[in-house]
C-alpha cells in the first residue's frame, strides 16, 4: 500500500517536473509594432467623429504575411475623435480597412465581386501611420451653446449632408438592392452621460432624447437649426457630457451608424 502511494507520488512529481522544466521557453518576441491613424472627411480633412465601440468606426486588420490559412480578422475600434492606435501588432504585411458612418471603402456587388477597394495594404513596422479619407453621410454641428434650465439641457444643432445624394447614389446603387429611402435621415439624438465617452454605447437613458423622423420628413430640416431638450431632471451640481448624433437609413456592415458632433461638458448649477 505504502509502495503504491510512493509510486503515485513519484509519477506525479515526474509529471510536475516535466511540465515546469520544459526544455524551451516560449521565446517568440511579443508584438511591438504600432499602427496608428485617423479617419477624415475626404472633402474637408476634418476627422470623422464617432462612437467608441462596435457601432462606431471599426478598424479591421488582416495579416497577409500569413498564408497557411485565410487570414483572421483582427478588429479594434476608433476613438471618439476618429483616431485609432494599436501598439501590439506583429511586424508584417497587412490589409487595413475601416467601416463606419461613411460610404464603404470596400464596395462589393450582389455577387460578391469587388466594385471598389480603397482599403490599404501596408507593411507595419515601427510606428506606421495611415490616414483614411472617406465620405461621411452626415455632418452634425452645435449651434450656439446649450442652455440649462431646471435640470434640463436644451441644445441647438444643425445636420447637413456631408455627401451629396447624387454621389451617394453613384457609389451605393451598384452594390445592389438600392432604394432612395436609404438617404432619409431617420433619427436625431441627444446623448447624455456622466463620462466624456458619451455615445450610443454609453448614455444615460433617463436623460437622453431621441427624435424619430418618418420617411423623408427630415429633408426640409437639413441645414436648419434643430432644438432638442433632454428628458427628466438632471440633479443640481452634476456634471454631464452631451453629444448629438444623426443617421441615415443605410447600414454599413449590418449596422446603421451615427455621425456625431464633439462631446461637450455641461455643469448643472447647484441650487
Amino acid at each position: 500500500m505504502k509502495c503504491a502511494i510512493y509510486c503515485i507520488n513519484a509519477v506525479l512529481l515526474l509529471l510536475f517536473l516535466s511540465t515546469t522544466f520544459s526544455c524551451r521557453i516560449d521565446n517568440y518576441a511579443p508584438p511591438k509594432e504600432t499602427l496608428r491613424g485617423r479617419v477624415v472627411n475626404a472633402a474637408t480633412g476634418e476627422p470623422i467623429l464617432t462612437d467608441q465601440g462596435a457601432e462606431g468606426i471599426r478598424v479591421r486588420m488582416r495579416e497577409l504575411t500569413w498564408t497557411a490559412t485565410t487570414p483572421e480578422n483582427l478588429d479594434f475600434y476608433c476613438m471618439k475623435d476618429g483616431a485609432f492606435q494599436n501598439t501590439k501588432v506583429f511586424k508584417g504585411f497587412y490589409n487595413v480597412r475601416v467601416d463606419g458612418p461613411f460610404i464603404p471603402i470596400v464596395r462589393v456587388d450582389m455577387n460578391g465581386d469587388t466594385l471598389a477597394d480603397e482599403s490599404k495594404n501596408i507593411e507595419i513596422k515601427g510606428v506606421t501611420e495611415i490616414e483614411f479619407r472617406v465620405q461621411p453621410f452626415l455632418k452634425v454641428e452645435w449651434v450656439g451653446k446649450p442652455i440649462v434650465n431646471d435640470g434640463k439641457i436644451t441644445a441647438t444643432i444643425k445636420v447637413t449632408r456631408a455627401v451629396s445624394p447624387e454621389e451617394f447614389q453613384a457609389k451605393i446603387k451598384p452594390m445592389g438592392n438600392y432604394n432612395d429611402n436609404m438617404l432619409n435621415v431617420t433619427d436625431v439624438r441627444l446623448f447624455v452621460s456622466q463620462v466624456p465617452y458619451v455615445g450610443y454605447r454609453e448614455f444615460d437613458n433617463r436623460y437622453s432624447t431621441i427624435i424619430n423622423y418618418i420617411g423623408n420628413s427630415f429633408e426640409p430640416l437639413l441645414g436648419q437649426p434643430i432644438t432638442i431638450t433632454t428628458q427628466g431632471i438632471i440633479p443640481p451640481g452634476r456634471t454631464v457630457f452631451i453629444r448629438a448624433a444623426a443617421r441615415i437609413n443605410y447600414a454599413t456592415e449590418g449596422i446603421k451608424r451615427y455621425n456625431y458632433n464633439e462631446a461637450i461638458r455641461v455643469d448643472i448649477p447647484r441650487k
Binding site: 490559412t69 480578422n73 427628466g232 447600414a251 449590418g254 449596422i255 446603421k256
Partner: protein, 679 residues
C-alpha cells in the same frame, strides 16, 4: 535455462505475428457493433434513445442562458418579454453564455447519428418489418430536420452535412464542409421534413417517438420561420472565405422564396388540421362559465391524454425530472432549495388580454379622470373579469393557489384619501413615470417624507421577505407592509412585477416536493393551438402576398376560424372583424407565452429590435412594466400603481443579434467556415 525461455518467447512471437490464419483479427467483443444494434426493435430503441437524448427540444431543460440539456433556473418567458425574474430577463443576443456554450458545437453529434442511421440501416433491412424500417428511416430524417432547423434559426446558413464523414479515412480537405447559403439551408430543412413525413407512421409506435403529424407540425413552424426571414430580414451578406450568402436571402428572389415557404407552412398545418386527429382541449370547458374555462386551461397542461397534445416531452423522477416548480413557485410557497418567483409576468404581457379595465391606449386603467388612484374594495377586484386564459397563466394579487391566498402587495399607504391619492412616483413634487423617474418606491416623496408629504412618511415598504416595516391598523392588528409573496424593496425573490406565473405550475405538488429535479409535468413541444395559429399566420401572409384562396381553401375563412376557436376556448372576447396578421400575432403572443415559442417569433418577425416598448425600442434599450398593489389604511381599500418594473431589467437588442455569432474558435480553425458577414 534462461536461453530456453528466450527461444520459446521468440518462437511464440514469430508464430503469433506471422500466422496465416487471422485468429486475432476480430472486432473487440466489448464494443457493440452495427450488427448488434441494428439487429431488431430492441437495439433500435437504444439507438433512438441516444438520438432523442441529443434532440434540440426547447423544453423544461432549456434556457437561453444555459442552452439545452441544463435544468437549472429554467424560467421560460423571461427573454421574450412575457415575464422577468430575479435571475433572468433581457433580450436573447446569444445562447449558452452562462454555461454550456453555443448550440453550434453540440449540433453535429446528433447530425452524425442521423446520417449514420440513414447510411447503415439499409444494410440490415432484413432484420425489420417494412413498417419498422420505414419508421426508423423517418426518425433519422426527423432528427436531421430538427438539427438543421435549430441551426438555421440561430445562424442562418450552416454546413449541410448529409452523409457520414469518415475520419481518419477522408483527407482533411474532404472533412471541411463550408456553410451553405441560408436559402439552401432552409431548403434542406424543408426536404428533410418532407422525407420524414413520407416515412413516418401516422401514430407513434413507441410513446415519445415522433410521427407523421409531429413532423408536419414542426414543418409548419420551421417554414414560417424561413418565410419570415425571407420576407422581413434586412441584413444579408456574403461570407468572407467562401463568398456564399450565409445570412439572408438574395433580395431579387427573396419574395418568391418567402411565398413558397408560406405555402409549405400552410399546407403542413392544414394537413394536421384536416387529419381530424387533434382538437383543442375542451374537456372541462363550458360556455359562459369563466370558472370552468379557467380550470380547463390550467388542467390541459397536466392531462397526458389531451387531444391537443401533438408532441410532449415527458419526464420521470428521479432520472429525468426538472425543477420548474422549484424556480417559479410564489414566494410564500418557496420550496427547500430556496428559489421562488423566477418567472414574473410583465404588465405589458397582462395588458394583451381581455377583461381588464383599460385606457384608450390599451394600458391598464389605474387612475380616475382626475388623475387620482381608483380604489378597489378587494385586491382581486381589478382582475375580477379577466379573461380565463390569463387567469390560467398568471397568478394575480390575492389569487388562490394550492389552497392559499397569494398575498402580493408592494406596500401600505397611510396618508389622507379625502381628495384622492396622487400618483406615487413623485420625487420632490415632480411626478415622473418615464425611465427618468424613481426606480424604486423607497425614493418617492410619500416614503421619504418630501414634497407634499414634508416631514410625514405615509408609505411603508418591506425590505425583504423577512425584514418588514409594519403598520398597526385601526382594529389593532399589525400588518406587514409587503405581501408574503412580495414585491420587496431589495430582495427580488418575490413577485417583482406584481404577478407570478401560474402556467405549468403543478397545483397538486406537495410543498415538500417543490425541489430542484423533482417535477415531472410534461412540456408541450407542439400542441394543436400552435398548428391553428401557424395555419392562420401563413394564410394571412398569403393574403398579403395577393392570394385569396389556396388549394381550395378560403384563406381568410381559415384564419378567422382558427382565431375564433382559440378565443372561444380561452374565454376571450370573440373575434370582431377579420383575423389580420396583427390579430394573429397578438393571439400567438398570448396563447403560446412561456412555451419558448414567442422567444423565436419576435426574432423571425424581425420586430424585436424595432417594436416600441414603453417609449423606446430594444435597439436603444427598453424596459417592461409592472403593476404594484398598495393598501390604503384610511380608505380600507386597495389601489394599483402601474409603471416600469422596479428591477429595471434592460432589454437591449440590435439587428445584428438576429443571427448568433459563429463560435470564433470554429471560424479560426477552419479554412472554410465563415463568420457572420459584417461581424
Amino acid at each position: 535455462m534462461k536461453l530456453r525461455y528466450l527461444v520459446l518467447l521468440l518462437g511464440l512471437t514469430i508464430g503469433t505475428f506471422t500466422s496465416c490464419r487471422k485468429y486475432l483479427d476480430i472486432p473487440p467483443k466489448n464494443i457493440i457493433q452495427d450488427k448488434d444494434i441494428f439487429s431488431g426493435e430492441k437495439g433500435m430503441q437504444l439507438y433512438l434513445s441516444l438520438m432523442y437524448s441529443k434532440m434540440p427540444f426547447e423544453d423544461f431543460k432549456y434556457s437561453p442562458a444555459r442552452g439545452f440539456f441544463d435544468d437549472w433556473l429554467v424560467t421560460p418567458g423571461t427573454n421574450e418579454g412575457s415575464s422577468i425574474g430575479r435571475d433572468a430577463g433581457g433580450a436573447m443576443t446569444s445562447e449558452g453564455w452562462a454555461r454550456n456554450g453555443p448550440y453550434w458545437t453540440m449540433a453535429f453529434s446528433l447530425l452524425r447519428d442521423a446520417n449514420y442511421l440513414l447510411k447503415n440501416l439499409p444494410k440490415y433491412k432484413s432484420n425489420f418489418t417494412d413498417a419498422e424500417f420505414r419508421d426508423y428511416i423517418g426518425e433519422a430524417y426527423f432528427a436531421r430536420a430538427m438539427v438543421f432547423y435549430a441551426l438555421a434559426k440561430r445562424y442562418g446558413g450552416v454546413p449541410l452535412v448529409t452523409n457520414v464523414l469518415e475520419y481518419p479515412k477522408y483527407p482533411a480537405a474532404k472533412l471541411e464542409v463550408p456553410r451553405s447559403s441560408e436559402e439552401e439551408t432552409w431548403n434542406q430543412v424543408l426536404a428533410d421534413f418532407d422525407s420524414a413525413i413520407a416515412y413516418l407512421p401516422e401514430v407513434s409506435p413507441v410513446r415519445g417517438y415522433s410521427n407523421k403529424y409531429v413532423a408536419l407540425s414542426f414543418k409548419s413552424e420551421a417554414m414560417l420561420f424561413a418565410a419570415c426571414v425571407a420576407k422581413y430580414n434586412k441584413i444579408t451578406g456574403l461570407g468572407q472565405k467562401t463568398k456564399v450568402r450565409v445570412i439572408g436571402f438574395n433580395p431579387n428572389t427573396a419574395m418568391a422564396a418567402s411565398k413558397k415557404y408560406f405555402e409549405e407552412a400552410y399546407k403542413a398545418a392544414r394537413s394536421v388540421i384536416k387529419s381530424g386527429r387533434y382538437a383543442l382541449y375542451m374537456k372541462e370547458w363550458a360556455p359562459n362559465d369563466k370558472e370552468a374555462q379557467y380550470k380547463n386551461m390550467v388542467d390541459m397542461f397536466f392531462d397526458i391524454s389531451s387531444p391537443e397534445n401533438i408532441y410532449l416531452k415527458e419526464y420521470q423522477y428521479p432520472y429525468t425530472a426538472h425543477g420548474y416548480d422549484a424556480y417559479n413557485i410564489p414566494r410564500q410557497l418557496m420550496g427547500g432549495n430556496g428559489y421562488s418567483a423566477g418567472n414574473c409576468p410583465t404588465l405589458d404581457f397582462v395588458e394583451l388580454f381581455d377583461g381588464i379595465p383599460k385606457n384608450p391606449d390599451g394600458t391598464i386603467k389605474v387612475f380616475d379622470d382626475r388623475g387620482k388612484y381608483l380604489l378597489f374594495d378587494h385586491v382581486t377586484d381589478i382582475f375580477a373579469n379577466a379573461e380565463p386564459r390569463l387567469r390560467a397563466y398568471v397568478i394575480f394579487p390575492g389569487d388562490n393557489f394550492k389552497g392559499q391566498v397569494i398575498e402580493i402587495r408592494r406596500g401600505i399607504y397611510t396618508g389622507s384619501v379625502v381628495n384622492g391619492i396622487d400618483p406615487l412616483r413623485t420625487v420632490n413634487g415632480v411626478t415622473d413615470y418615464s425611465i427618468s423617474g424613481p426606480a424604486n418606491y423607497n425614493q418617492v416623496d410619500a416614503y421619504t417624507g418630501n414634497g407634499a408629504f414634508m416631514g410625514k412618511k405615509v408609505l411603508f415598504l418591506s425590505q425583504s421577505g423577512t425584514q418588514h416595516e409594519t403598520v398597526t391598523l385601526a382594529d389593532g392588528t399589525v400588518m406587514n407592509a409587503g405581501g408574503k409573496s412580495g414585491p420587496f424593496t431589495s430582495d427580488r425573490t418575490g413577485a417583482i412585477t406584481g404577478f407570478t406565473v401560474r402556467k405549468f405550475l403543478d397545483p397538486n405538488l406537495p410543498q415538500s416536493l417543490v425541489l430542484e429535479g423533482h417535477s415531472t409535468q410534461p412540456f408541450p413541444l407542439m400542441r394543436y393551438a400552435e398548428v391553428l395559429l401557424n395555419a392562420a399566420e401563413a394564410a394571412a401572409e398569403l393574403i398579403l402576398a395577393g392570394e385569396s384562396t389556396f388549394e381550395g381553401d378560403d384563406l381568410q375563412a381559415v384564419a378567422n376560424q382558427a382565431i375564433t376557436d382559440i378565443r372561444r376556448r380561452a374565454g376571450a372576447d370573440p373575434l370582431t372583424g377579420l383575423a389580420t396578421l396583427d390579430t394573429i400575432r397578438k393571439e400567438r403572443k398570448k396563447e403560446l407565452a412561456f412555451e419558448n415559442k414567442i422567444l423565436w417569433d419576435i426574432r423571425r418577425w424581425r420586430t424585436q429590435h424595432s417594436d416600441k416598448l414603453n417609449g423606446s425600442t430594444q435597439q436603444d434599450g427598453a424596459y417592461y412594466r409592472g403593476l404594484y398593489p398598495f393598501y390604503s389604511t384610511k380608505a380600507n381599500k386597495y389601489f394599483f400603481d402601474a409603471g416600469i418594473e422596479e428591477s429595471r431589467k434592460l432589454f437591449r437588442f440590435t439587428e445584428q443579434d438576429y443571427y448568433f455569432l459563429i463560435p470564433p474558435g470554429e471560424v479560426a480553425k477552419s479554412p472554410v467556415i465563415d463568420q457572420q458577414p459584417g461581424r
